[in-house]
Symmetry: C2
Subunit: 226 residues, 2 copies
């Protein structure tokens, strides 16, 4: 369902590219972990898969669509309907309550407000932060904010979840709870690309691990179906 | 060198306090780890020790000074000279280069610019990010930004280092490098309060671990010299 062909991303001409000739794919319903040293290109890879950025060269195909060549409007609609994203730094809106942050993708996808509110409530309760529903992000702890970001990514029950270090700010026990939640969603059919620094999380939940080093896939045999 | 006596912090009257009657101390030259579930009060505790916030009741004493009752100016001077802080979300200034971000505490402490620049250069090199010296934080990866925050906290060689999850955004290998660096500084006399979700980091480098649960010290025997 995801395919990158010879993808290179150089943020500035003349500097070392953040990703260099990456070819890889992820099958429908798979959990693929992406690991690698700090600065190796993991967040960049997720941004390209989500269509939040464009490759310098090469093609990115998601669910049959050439993500790298869609226009902004089409990309936004595509993401709203099919993709949930947990950002490395959460990207919450400070002027919206926790609940309204979580509801944002549902609004963008034109979902029924009542159904979305029920779904948001379930997720917040499952993540142990429903008592913060009407609070603003500024008064939440780091791990509480991360859980708001997780709830927001899941509110539309997207087919594809892109998670950039979803347990980075969490204690071991809460992190394991997140792992279980992600695993249930995958069992129900969701495809998951999981960027993580936690080898235990990858080992436990991922069908395979792709290692990035200096913007390249370290071992082409892990890159998935050719 | 740090002592909290019966410290309570309630962000809003009538809500459950973030910290409740916490009594604990840290000896000069010690490494004390603070662990606990998300939302248990760890960042709040560090903010009170740093004087970035005031307790609702109780006293906070650092290096002989009643931190909870100093004025803003005295607090800023005290921190600039004696305390290095690694924030959970880094708190880098987007309009300053990496190098200028790192130099900020040295400027505030009135240190010689030449000495400070040499020190900053050493730290950036040790942390593997000196090639980003003239870049702005927005174009750095998560773990690169965290390393800038670490360098900034250390530029004045402070006697007391408060670290809020200093390896949260880092891969295992880089995280171990940070652990070694902190351990060397402690061997040279620096006191370290280390908030971390990583049990391996705490086990390896901390003389003792204080567990917070719902704003309270879980086991008073870990609270340090009475
Ligand atoms: N907007 C940008 N402009 C220029 N360079 C960038 C930009 N964003 C990232 N980079 C560079 O691209 C490289 C890869 O960054 P990326 O954020 O993908 O790394 P990462 O693997 O996610 O790292 P981490 O584990 O630290 O989060 C880094 O060297 C970084 O400095
Ligand atoms: N500015 C604030 N106003 C109101 N409540 C706050 C504020 N900051 C934190 N809190 C609350 O205080 C409690 C403790 O927060 P704190 O940030 O100290 O937790 P923490 O242990 O650092 O958590 P984490 O591991 O998730 O970073 C949380 O329940 C949080 O919601
Ligand atoms: Mg990243
Ligand atoms: Mg915290």
């Amino acid at each position: 369902v995801i395919r990158l062909d010879n993808v290179t991303k150089a943020y500035q001409a003349g500097t070392a590219p953040a990703l260099a000739s990456v070819t890889m794919s992820v099958a429908n319903g798979e959990v693929a972990a992406i690991m690698g040293p700090s600065g190796s290109g993991k967040s960049t890879l997720l941004n390209l898969i989500a269509g939040l950025d464009r490759p310098t060269s090469g093609t990115v195909t998601v669910a049959g669509q050439r993500i790298d060549s869609l226009g902004e409007g089409a990309l936004a609609r595509f993401r709203a309907r099919h993709v949930g994203i947990i950002f490395q730094f959460f990207n919450l809106l400070d002027d919206l309550t926790v609940e309204d942050n979580v509801l944002l993708p549902a609004q963008l996808a034109g979902a029924s407000r009542r159904g979305a509110r029920a779904r948001a409530g379930e997720l917040l309760a499952r993540l142990g932060i429903d008592k913060h529903r009407d609070h603003y992000p500024a008064r939440l702890s780091g791990g509480q904010r991360q859980r708001v970001a997780i709830a927001r990514a899941l509110v539309n029950s997207p087919e594809l979840l892109l998670a950039d270090e979803p347990t980075g700010a969490l204690d071991t026990a809460t992190g394991q709870e997140i792992g279980r939640l992600l695993s249930e969603l995958n069992a129900a059919g969701q495809t998951l690309v999981l960027v993580t620094h936690d080898p235990a999380l990858a080992a436990r939940y991922a069908a395979r691990t792709v290692r990035l080093v200096d913007g390249q896939v370290a071992d082409p045999r892990t890159a998935g179906v050719g």
